[in-house]
Symmetry: C2
């Protein structure tokens, strides 16, 4: 859970990064910007800031904003009862993002899993995405990603997003973001 | 059909507009940028410049670049044999785009259909998209759109693109772009 103050600070920081990257968002999009700490309480290390532009039954588009060295933990989008899991393309718009997927372990990889969570990171084949680079992930593919030292802005183009079906390697993780009630936030 | 010279000029102009809008593309994307004049031979009035980032069986993302007052002619994405037609979201990134859809005719609309093609434009309800604005079109919805005086850069998020299935109101239109062979282009 994050406090209201943490939420507001993360939103202001993400909005400033988008502006710096030349990405324009509407006021109502800023007002519903998602700040996900995955329930681990270490937003700077493990977390994402997300604006979902559209998410219909058939397709979805988001902008993901990552603070420097922020990590999205290892997870996959499962095929359930024959319904194919989410397919997604990450396109780097600004900064650098390091994507880790199944395959040969990359020697001298740029990133390490967040300290204390190493047990929940297994895939170690590195794909480096800089502005104009993209990578498409098939359903059921374990992956995690971490921003470089400047942070990153990444567009995600995908089939329907069903975050509650995502499977995380780390059993401590809760995908749905929780923001403390105002009173709790005030005591932060 | 457009000449090689027209093609190269349109690509250079579209690439410059993307750069101005802060959108980074890869060299291989620039090399396969699509310049569509819809077979009408009036690219400045009726045409689109398109980079398809990804187009799988399930979803698609493109960047559309429009020169000032350039028009994408009226068309729709049909449902065929029970398979739903393409659903698409247009998100303006830079400039202004005027989208026309079914509904009450907008008084004092900003755009007119290209001169000489008025008979092939019927829907006249105007939606104005400026940076950060977007609109989602259901399958089978007739629509056309025109850029404002600066031109526009528009992201398209959609289900699979099957351009050959698009239905255009204007029977003269050929959707697949044709670029003249080099020799023909040299004579332009």
């Amino acid at each position: 859970m994050i406090s209201v103050r943490q939420y507001n600070e993360a939103v202001a920081r993400a909005a400033a990064m988008l502006q710096n990257a030349g990405v324009v968002i509407a006021p109502e999009e800023r007002a519903r910007l998602e700040v996900a700490d995955f329930g681990l309480g270490e937003l700077e290390k493990t977390g994402l800031e997300i604006i979902t532009y559209v998410n219909t039954q058939r397709c979805c588009a988001k902008e993901i904003i990552m603070f420097p060295h922020q990590t999205c933990p290892e997870h996959w989008h499962p095929t359930i009862s024959g319904v194919p899991g989410k397919e997604e393309t990450f396109r780097c718009r600004w900064g650098t993002v390091y994507l880790y997927i199944p395959g040969e372990t990359t020697a001298n990889a740029a990133c390490r899993p967040p300290h204390g969570s190493e047990a929940y990171y297994r895939v170690a084949h590195e794909v480096v995405l800089k502005p104009g680079d993209q990578y498409t992930l098939a359903p059921d593919t374990p992956h995690w990603f971490q921003a470089g030292s400047e942070g990153a802005v990444v567009s995600e183009f995908s089939t329907r997003s069903t975050d509650d079906q995502d499977v995380f390697r780390d059993p401590r993780i809760a995908r749905a973001p929780e923001v403390a009630a105002e009173a709790a936030g005030a005591s932060d």
